[in-house]
């Protein structure tokens, strides 16, 4: 099998996940890493065995001629870097959010079409084991027809870390949804994964409960209704502990998980019949929860993180590109995600 020549632009925190995949994948040959910090690029190259380092991505595009470029820079830089990569003949895998607005997404997609290259936004959590298991339960009819989805993320971003740093404000604060823009793509594509419907009623309350000028918003509470389907999107920086809850309710039962501490709690009608199903559900879910505790402890020791889906996504993407097939994240996936984010933002400050 011929490997695709891969290059990475931006060697910050998330680069570890992309680079560790590229380092071990037989489908990729890491021809270059690029960062404005030469020390950072050199570290990444040494740690993950890249062939060359660059401070100028245009130079990397012309010299290393990558087939695929991973864009891992701050979101406001994505559009013009992606445009240059596409026009240089490379497929683009870009961290979320791909663009700041839906208009920008359409412009960039048009460029990708004109260049006959694929543009792929990182929807990594869709490929986490728990999400794939829920997908399977929908496919095999266990949950019946999906009627409600809740996605709730809580992150302690007010208590310190890069987003709370007032000395070097993170560029994400300048995005339309402020810091929530950094995670909103995840919440939205997960809702759309399980409820691929057009939402005709959208209400969203954007808040800055913590106050101050660094954060534009630190809380989002949104209700989406499309026909009889309901979804709730929730982000909180205040109601901790940290979690990434996903609940999918169907006509035959529901399933829930936390992608940060994965488990599956499935409440459905069991073979024992309607009367005994509640107690059977309790026993089965209790056992599964204990298994999950052991598995999560093992995962922590073995450095398997909630980013497990990213390696799966990248693997499927590289396989598809090598075989001339469309990648697993489609235009529709990205278009609907970007459009729904715009619709949520149009509800700014409306309760």
């Amino acid at each position: 099998m011929t490997a695709l020549k891969a290059a990475v632009i931006g060697t910050g925190l998330i680069s570890k996940e992309h680079l560790s995949f590229l380092d071990q994948s037989k489908q990729a040959q890491l021809v270059g890493v690029c960062d404005l910090s030469s020390a950072s690029a050199q570290y990444a190259a040494q740690r993950y065995h890249a062939e060359a380092t660059y401070a100028d991505y245009r130079q990397m595009l012309s010299e290393a001629k990558p087939d695929v470029v991973h864009i891992l820079t701050p979101p406001h830089t994505h559009k013009w870097i992606a445009k240059d990569c596409l026009e240089a003949g490379a497929h683009v895998i870009c961290e979320k959010p791909l663009t700041s607005t839906y208009e920008e997404f359409k412009e960039l997609w048009a460029i990708a079409q004109a260049c006959d290259r694929y543009l792929i936004e990182d929807h990594n959590y869709r490929f986490n084991s728990a999400i794939l298991a829920i997908e399977q339960m929908i496919a095999d009819g266990t949950l019946g027809e999906v009627q409600e989805v809740e996605v709730r993320m809580a992150l302690a971003i007010r208590k310190g870390g890069a987003f709370a740093d007032e000395n070097l404000p993170n560029p994400i604060h300048k995005m339309p949804a402020g810091v929530i823009h950094d995670v909103l793509t995840h919440l939205v594509y997960l809702v759309l994964k399980f409820l691929p419907t057009e939402f005709d009623r959208i209400r969203a309350a954007w808040s800055n409960h913590g106050g101050g000028s660094t954060f534009k918003y630190d809380d989002l509470d949104a209700i989406l209704v499309g026909g009889s389907a309901h979804a709730r999107l929730r982000f909180s920086a205040h109601t901790l502990p940290e979690c990434f809850d996903v609940i999918v309710r169907g006509s035959k039962g529901y399933v829930q998980t936390d992608l940060f501490q994965p488990y599956l709690r499935t409440v459905v009608r069991r073979k024992a019949g309607e009367k005994l199903s509640p107690i059977v559900n309790h026993f089965i879910n209790g056992t599964d929860l204990m298994r999950s505790s052991v598995r999560n402890f093992s995962n922590k020791i073995m450095q398997r993180t909630p980013y497990e889906g990213l390696h799966r996504l990248l693997d499927e993407t590289y396989t598809a590109l090598l075989n001339g097939n469309p990648p697993p994240i489609s235009f529709e996936d990205m278009e609907r995600t970007s459009r729904l984010i715009d619709a949520l933002l149009a509800e700014e400050n409306r309760v």
Binding site: G12, L13, A39, Y43, L168, I301
Partner: protein, 346 residues
């Protein structure tokens, strides 16, 4: 001299600023943009000015270096994930060195750390001095050691490329007021329970006021140029002695669970072998169960400050007992009396 001091608002940095002022130097203190400088007793000293820049970005650094004779580079990130520490330590140093090159300010006293040594492969009882081996497998060590190793390499590269007058100081564990609990004593298991590992190992300590004096002396002494110098105090205590003195003064003690050094060393080695042979090196155990990290904190070794004394003409002013007395006193340790006339002409 006019000294640019990075990390000036940090634990050690504040004492270095005060020591520099006491010795009659002009100080330009680098503090982060959001810092409240009025909390420093020395903020309105006539010889102090502030440069409000964040070293993680380049802007403002060349301006901050205007008119500077020497840079004392203390800024580093001591906590956070690898990438946070990489930005605060490595990228900060990269940006500073680039600005120094642009400004042609080449005199540098860079503060490294004892963490850069290779402890695992050093036999028990060995002397750690400036010629001791540097860690060859940084990935076995914590984020602090990893990033400080890269930082030291950047400084050496800057020295070689610019023929720059550079001094690298490697302080041991710096202790002082509000920083007396020490990682060489044990490992925090919960908020109230500590594992106390070993008792007889010598601790590579330097009291913050002693260390600050050594750092300023390094900027003053021509003989320090081109040197790498370890900084530890005289008469270093064992873990047991230090713990006894510390616990005698503490109001609330964590519960200490003693662990024998030989036993924990063996257990850690077994876990490491299991990880390498069975888990293919994929497992990441808590720090004290990783041999390279365990040895770096608790291995019985001996240390010397002979080179520091010889080159810097430095004698640690305060003994361990005096350091404890000062740390627990009400005395303001960061006040500045008029500099000695002899020193102010330095």
């Amino acid at each position: 001299m006019k000294l640019l001091i990075t990390g000036a608002s940090g634990f050690l940095g504040q004492y270095v600023v005060v020591e520099a002022l006491r010795r009659g130097h002009q100080v330009r203190a680098v503090v982060r943009p959001a810092s409240d400088v009025t909390r420093f007793t020395w903020h309105d000293h006539a010889s102090v000015e502030f440069a409000r820049v964040d070293l993680r970005q380049k802007s403002g650094l060349v301006d901050a270096l205007q008119g500077v004779d020497a840079v004392l580079h203390l800024a580093a990130a001591k906590s956070g994930d690898f990438y946070t520490q990489f930005a605060g330590t490595v990228i900060a140093t990269e940006n500073l060195l680039e600005a120094m090159q642009t400004s042609n300010v080449l005199r540098l006293v860079a503060i490294s750390t004892f963490s850069v040594f290779d402890y695992w492969n050093t036999p028990i009882g060995s002397l750690i001095d400036e010629s001791s081996a540097i860690e060859k497998n940084p990935l076995e060590r914590d984020e602090y050691a990893q990033t400080k190793l890269i930082q030291e390499a950047l400084v050496r590269d800057f020295e070689a490329k610019n023929n720059a007058p550079v001094t690298i100081l490697r302080p041991g564990m710096v202790y002082g007021r509000d920083n007396l609990m020490n990682a060489c004593l044990g490992a925090e298991l919960t908020d109230t329970i500590w594992l106390r590992i070993g008792a007889r190992a010598q601790m590579p300590l330097t009291y913050v006021e002693n260390c600050a004096e050594a750092i300023v002396l390094a900027a003053e002494q021509e003989a320090a140029i081109g040197q790498t110098i370890n900084i530890v105090d005289d008469d270093l205590p064992t873990q047991r002695v230090f713990a006894k003195k510390l616990f005698a003064r503490m109001d609330q003690l964590p519960r200490m669970v003693p662990l024998n050094w030989t036993l924990i060393r063996f257990l850690t080695w077994v876990l490491w072998v299991y990880n390498q042979k069975v888990l293919k090196g994929q497992a990441k155990y808590p720090g004290i169960f990783v041999p390279a990290k365990l040895h770096a904190r608790f291995k019985p070794l001996v240390y010397t400050n002979a080179r520091a004394k010889q080159i810097l003409k430095w004698t640690p002013k305060y003994s361990l007992d005096q350091a404890f007395d000062r740390s627990y006193s009400d005395q303001n340790l960061l006040t500045i009396s008029a500099p000695s006339p002899a020193l102010s002409s330095t």
